[in-house]
């Protein structure tokens, strides 16, 4: 049960229920809730703009007993949408801290099993000077720059050099790097505790040349105010999980990296 679950290293805690065909060679876009909900807002924007349909339902004893009601139907809060060779992972709830590592491991294993080609994980990196910035910068980290350099101008972005990453994205990126999937992490400077559609727009601008992920960013900016209200409750819950995952470490500097 939620909060009472056994911690385990096994690969059997999460169930990936494929309700639609997941073809080989796909790209996974990770929009799990994190700093400023940057990835979640970007994911929502892609799903809506590309009119994607539900392809995978994900469930686990490690998640709280929550169901999402939509059009008189019930859905799991953690799902994958898909279309046109792209799968978008998104969630109505933050991943509980104790479920982060098992989920990252099992998701990476599922991606390998389903022969996914690449992963793009979008998130925020908290910037105390965010209120002054009209267009936040985007930082990146990747294990295979050549896999993305055709469609993304990585040279125009700053690489994430030395830092701590904490939370679901940190765990998932680690697993993807370990498993050898071509992975790109994009982190837009954002508010820590406020939903940040502006930062999501910055991150999505970087992906403008990827036809499957390109969205009209001006629409996102236009609806930004409504999104900030709509995502307020998810932000509150995500803040709690971020604190439990020691998110403050992202403000520290790794001691052993010279």
């Amino acid at each position: 049960m939620y909060g009472e679950a056994t911690l385990s290293n096994g690969l059997d805690k999460f169930k990936f229920d494929e309700v639609d065909t997941v073809g080989e060679g796909q790209l996974l876009f990770d929009g799990l809730p994190d700093t400023g909900l940057v990835g979640t807002i970007a994911a929502q924007s892609i799903v809506n703009s590309k009119k994607m349909s539900l392809s995978v339902r994900i469930d686990s004893e490690l998640l709280p007993p929550v169901a999402v009601v939509k059009d008189r139907n019930l859905f799991e809060p953690l799902v994958i949408y898909g279309s046109d060779g792209v799968s978008v992972l998104t969630s109505e709830i933050p991943i509980p801290t104790e479920a982060v590592k098992p989920f990252a491991r099992e998701l990476a294993a599922w991606l390998v099993k389903r022969k996914f080609k690449s992963v793009i994980s979008v998130g925020g990196v908290a910037d105390p000077n965010r209120p002054e910035k009209e267009k936040p910068e985007v930082l990146y980290i990747t294990n295979q720059p050549e896999a993305f350099s055709k469609e993304i101008d990585l040279k125009s972005l700053e690489p994430l050099d030395r830092a701590f990453l904490v939370g679901s994205k940190a765990a998932f990126l680690l697993e993807c790097f370990r498993s050898g999937i071509s992975t790109l992490g994009l982190f837009a400077q954002s508010f820590l505790n406020y939903p940040d559609p502006g930062a999501a727009a910055s991150a999505l601008s970087v992906l403008g040349r990827m036809s499957q992920l390109s969205v009209d960013v001006s629409e996102l900016v236009k609806s930004g105010e409504e999104m900030r209200v709509r995502f307020r409750d998810l932000m509150r819950r995500t803040m709690g999980e971020m604190e439990r995952a020691q998110k403050s470490r992202e403000l520290e500097f790794p001691s052993l990296v010279v």
Partner: protein, 138 residues
Amino acid sequence: MSIDFSEEFEDRFRRFMAEARRIEDRAIRAMKEFERRESCVVPLYEIRPTKEGYFITVDLPGVEKEEVELTFKGASLVIRAPCRSVTARRTCRGEPQYFVELPLPPGIDERSVAASMKNGLLRIEMKTAKAGYRLEIH
């Protein structure tokens, strides 16, 4: 007989996490009940210490600075503003309003408070009343 410390640690970790969530959930529930009862939207906010006092930000999407009502009430700062969000209209009766009563840290000089607004983010700077005095080190 050996004792499995990892199991004991896991058990304590589980209980700690469950308790932390219960406390957090109670606080969120109280806030959401307040929103429903009072037909308002409690905005997200952050209070940060500065060298001279405190810096507060309040997320008020869609609000212009002329629309914000800031009032000192005892040891609190009350913030009201109209909320035009479609999402808020679904849960509130009548015209929704942003409302939050922020408990102020002690020693605030009310005359030092300066507020500004940019892109729906209210920023309030306030100084503590006494600058303190320097201690000699012997």
